[in-house]
Symmetry: C2
Subunit: 222 residues, 2 copies
């Protein structure tokens, strides 16, 4: 695929578009205007048209977007059809939660193996995924092509495990450890999951709600 | 605090500013220009100035921002100093992972209690947080002021538990269930954690990297 450099903000919006298009498909909507799509996503129609224009022309003037066509196009831009492979390193609570509840295959990823140091886990299979010892990670990675490592080890182990992974050729890490892994010069693609960003957005809206309630009560007392 | 309506995109950027300012503080940086801050965050200086201008004036023309002052201001806008309280509902893998590793108090939240249906959990204390049975949720909520419910129950239970929570006066839910909880008319503040958005952004960057590598290899063959 021919690629143009696209801003991170656009890239971050693509998964939201995808989720919305899946919702629309489920509700039987097969065509939507940029106006209505923007309305449902809290974006302006022109922003939506501009975002999509980064990747070519999807809509027809006056006809809106064909939902399944647009969905397929965005999925492809996001690499869902690439057959990416993943391993998970660290089968603690969060690792187990991902293996148990997160459907990697829905997003085009095959979770091929997990790794841990706990002897009672090694050699077992959880949700169809074999768990190996950390000492077999290196040989596993030299025998298998893996695109992404899901890093769910404890904080203390994060940096050393990440360094080991990149030394063994992993160039993309999905990082759940809340530890900053790389400087700006590193060649590794790191996607950090920051639960706190999400909680703080919620916190903002709660604070706003409490202020509104207090202001309303104040006005009523006057 | 006097509040103006601020766009969701600005609100979503505030936690990222906060993390960056914490990083700067840790590295001993006490003053930063909007140019340098933008550079480190992949935003333009004018976008940063515009974001902050929603909340008043923080910087001095030509002097940049005072890092601790800006940090305190953003923390306050996000409600970190409000003393918000939370309960967690559903002590499965993801609930346990949050109780174990996520420091609610760092973000101004007190996690006061957790709830589950499993008899072996009820009456225990995990990481200082008492776990009660679901049947005592209603009386707990009538006796305690709780700002946010963290929803970590299994998918199948998500909607009914959320409905129960809102019926009992909870107006903010941090939703880890991947189930859409509310229509646009609902009064409940719902913050959804979508792991897939994060993985798909990573997927995009990996696809881009693979394309670049393939293009380079193609050029070298010519």
């Amino acid at each position: 695929m021919k690629r143009v450099k696209v801003s991170n903000n656009v890239i971050r919006r693509l998964p939201r578009y995808l989720r919305k298009l899946d919702e629309l498909t489920e509700s039987g909507v097969s065509r939507i205007s940029s106006f209505e799509l923007g309305n449902q996503l809290g974006l302006t129609p022109s922003q939506i048209r501009q975002d999509f224009s980064c990747f070519g022309e999807f809509g027809q003037q006056g006809y809106g977007y064909n939902v399944p066509v647009l969905r397929a196009h965005i999925a492809s831009i996001l690499g869902i059809d690439r057959g990416f492979t993943a391993i998970l390193v660290g089968v603690g609570n969060i690792g187990r939660a991902l293996m148990d509840n997160f459907c990697f295959s829905d997003w085009g990823f095959e979770l091929k193996a997990a790794f841990d140091i706990k002897p009672e886990l090694i050699g077992t299979v959880f949700k169809g995924v074999p768990i190996y010892g950390m000492d077999s990670l290196e040989s596993y990675l030299s025998d298998n092509h893996i695109d992404v490592a899901v890093l769910t080890v404890p904080k203390e182990a994060a940096v050393s495990v990440a360094e080991g992974l990149t030394a063994q050729g992993i160039d993309a890490i999905w990082n759940f450890t809340n530890v900053e892994l790389t400087g700006p010069n590193s060649d590794t693609i790191v996607e950090n999951v920051h639960f706190s960003d999400s909680l703080l957005s919620l916190s903002y809206y709660v604070a706003e709600r409490r202020d509104e309630t207090a202001a309303k009560a104040g006005r009523e007392r006057q």
